[in-house]
């Protein structure tokens, strides 16, 4: 237990010590999206009746921030440790695979949630935000951050260079998040892209999250949860398996 707690504390402290880059910068970037899109589209787009475009947009941006930062934390921490070699500090002690996994998972979730909360709170400066089902908001924030935290850990274990991680971020994470309905409802898309979006797990994360705020969504939140939860379990299982086998960590 002490081993897990120490590794978790170390992982949290690692991003906490450079708060400017790891928390403040992503919040600022997300707020820029909010500023520009809400200014341009506020008068033209209304997705759900009674919900302004800005308050429609905020949950999507919050979720996007959660996902990107949950991914970034585990992946960048692991690749830095691998490249600098200090990964031996936690490979030498008698830490179990589960302790290792949980420490990295929870620390990455904390980073995602802290940035998400920061975006949500600063979003309140722009508009009022309703909170119809806070429990759904929490459920989707937790599950989605866990999924991308696992994803980040897997990428961090797999990657050997920073460019490879950047590749995953640019070619997988960015398209997944931008083509998921952060900025629009997928009902406004042509039929083909609507169908494609239904295969994008991030779409369900954002849709379910939004339901928690506004009480309306494109699909039923239970259905969204049913789409996201198995992905989380599969990724968690895969991460544990990689850690157990020592893939790319122990020769």
């Amino acid at each position: 237990m002490t081993g897990f707690l120490t590794l978790f504390r170390k992982e949290v402290l690692r991003f906490w010590k450079v708060l400017m880059q790891t928390v403040a910068a992503p919040i600022l970037t997300t707020l820029l999206y909010l500023l520009i899109f809400s200014h341009v589209l506020e008068a033209h787009v209304q997705v759900y009746p009674g919900v302004s475009y800005t308050s429609f947009l905020i949950p999507g941006l919050v979720m996007m921030a959660i996902l990107q930062n949950a991914f970034a934390n585990g992946s960048s921490s692991l690749i830095q440790s691998k490249i600098s070699g200090n990964i031996v500090f936690f490979l030498l002690p008698p830490l179990s695979y589960l302790e290792f996994f949980l420490a990295y998972l929870l620390a990455a979730m904390v980073r995602g949630l802290v940035v998400g909360l920061g975006v949500a709170v600063s979003g309140l400066l722009f508009t009022d935000l309703s909170l119809v089902h806070p429990l759904w908001v929490m459920v989707f924030a937790l599950v989605a951050s866990a999924v991308f935290a696992c994803f980040g850990i897997i990428a961090g274990i797999w990657a050997e260079k920073f460019d490879q991680l950047a590749g995953v971020q640019n070619f997988v994470i960015m398209p997944l998040t931008f083509l998921s309905g952060v900025f629009y409802s997928i009902h406004s898309l042509p039929a083909f892209w609507q169908a494609v979006s239904h295969y994008n797990p991030v779409f369900y994360m954002i849709d379910g999250f939004r339901y928690g705020f506004h009480g309306v969504s494109d699909v039923d939140p239970w259905q969204s949860l049913a789409a996201v939860l198995p992905i989380g379990l599969i990724l968690a299982g895969l991460t544990l398996q990689l850690l157990r086998s020592g893939y790319k960590l122990r020769h």
Partner: protein, 301 residues
């Protein structure tokens, strides 16, 4: 009581390269043991297998009777490793680094022992300094401290003195010796053979993944019992009678074998008779470096 380290039939391939080709090694608790070998011999690979950083292709390894794969938690609790590479985490101070390392080993409050370690390794005034701001030798000493946070019965040091200045090297060895006297088993690799000769009771020499010599240090030195005489002559001509003793030449001096000191008188007489003048003369005792070079050379043939 189980052995401190026990290795049987250990082999490791990296692709087509065979880093270890069947190594057997037993080290008893309380020993001070040197693992020697040229660059690329497989020393670090062997240590990495003991530490669980590398998985063996064949064979078994145990630390204090615990298999390093099946019983890895117990094996690692019993082992402290100072890695060869100078690694550090630039986010943290020296004290934080040591506190985290203690925590990974399941130790919550370890401040007294951490202070003692800092003191013994002359790091007390650097305790609150960020790792990034330490010199290379200081970083190496932090690695030593990290390996010792959990007071492991078996301590493995992979070239701990590379880049450490003379004075601190002495301090470091004094500290390691004290630990050895308290019962800790020490396994060390070094390219400074005089260090190994002075400190270690037993030595294994590794070459291309095989053990080519394994014995008590004293025995190895005795086996190479030939003392040598180094002679500088003027003119540079070795008398006929001394030719059978000739081992070689070095920087213009003749190297002659000498089985016991009684033979010296006869040799000097031969030289005088030949009318040759002695410009330089010294008797050399065999040291571990010579044994090492001979072993490595011999094993190549």
């Amino acid at each position: 009581m189980s052995r401190a380290i026990s290795v049987r039939g250990l082999a490791k391939r990296f692709g087509s390269l065979e880093a270890l080709r069947g190594v057997d090694l037993e080290i008893e608790p309380g020993e001070f043991f040197a693992l020697l070998g040229p660059n690329g011999a497989g020393k670090t690979t062997l240590i990495s297998i003991l530490a669980g950083l590398v998985r063996a292709s064949a064979g078994q390894a145990e630390v204090m009777g615990h298999d390093v794969v099946h019983d890895y938690r117990a094996a690692r609790r019993n082992l402290g490793v100072v890695p060869q590479e100078l690694v550090f985490d630039p986010f943290f101070t020296v004290r934080e680094t040591l506190q985290f390392q203690s925590g990974y080993f399941g130790i919550k409050r370890n401040d007294d022992w951490i202070d003692a370690l800092l003191h013994h390794l002359n790091l007390t005034d650097k305790a609150e300094t960020n790792m990034r701001r330490l010199s290379g030798g200081m970083k190496r000493r932090v690695l030593v401290a990290q390996a010792l946070v959990h007071k492991p019965p078996v301590i493995v040091l992979d070239e701990p003195t590379a880049g450490v200045d003379v004075e601190l090297r002495q301090t470091l060895w004094q500290f390691i010796r004290d630990l050895n006297r308290q019962g800790h088993t020490i396994l060390l690799t070094t390219h400074y053979l005089e260090e190994a000769e002075e400190l270690c009771e037993r030595v294994a020499m590794l070459k291309e993944g095989r053990i080519v010599a394994l014995d008590r240090t004293a025995n190895l030195l005795r086996a190479d019992s030939q003392r040598r005489v180094e002679l500088r002559l003027n003119p540079r001509r070795l008398p006929e009678a001394l030719q059978p003793r000739l081992l070689g030449e070095k920087d213009g001096a003749f190297l002659l074998s000498l089985h016991d000191f009684g033979e010296l008188e006869g040799m000097l007489a031969e030289i005088r008779q030949a009318g040759v003048q002695i410009d330089g003369f010294c008797v050399r005792q065999p040291d571990l470096e010579e044994v090492f070079l001979q072993t490595m050379h011999g094993a190549a043939r």
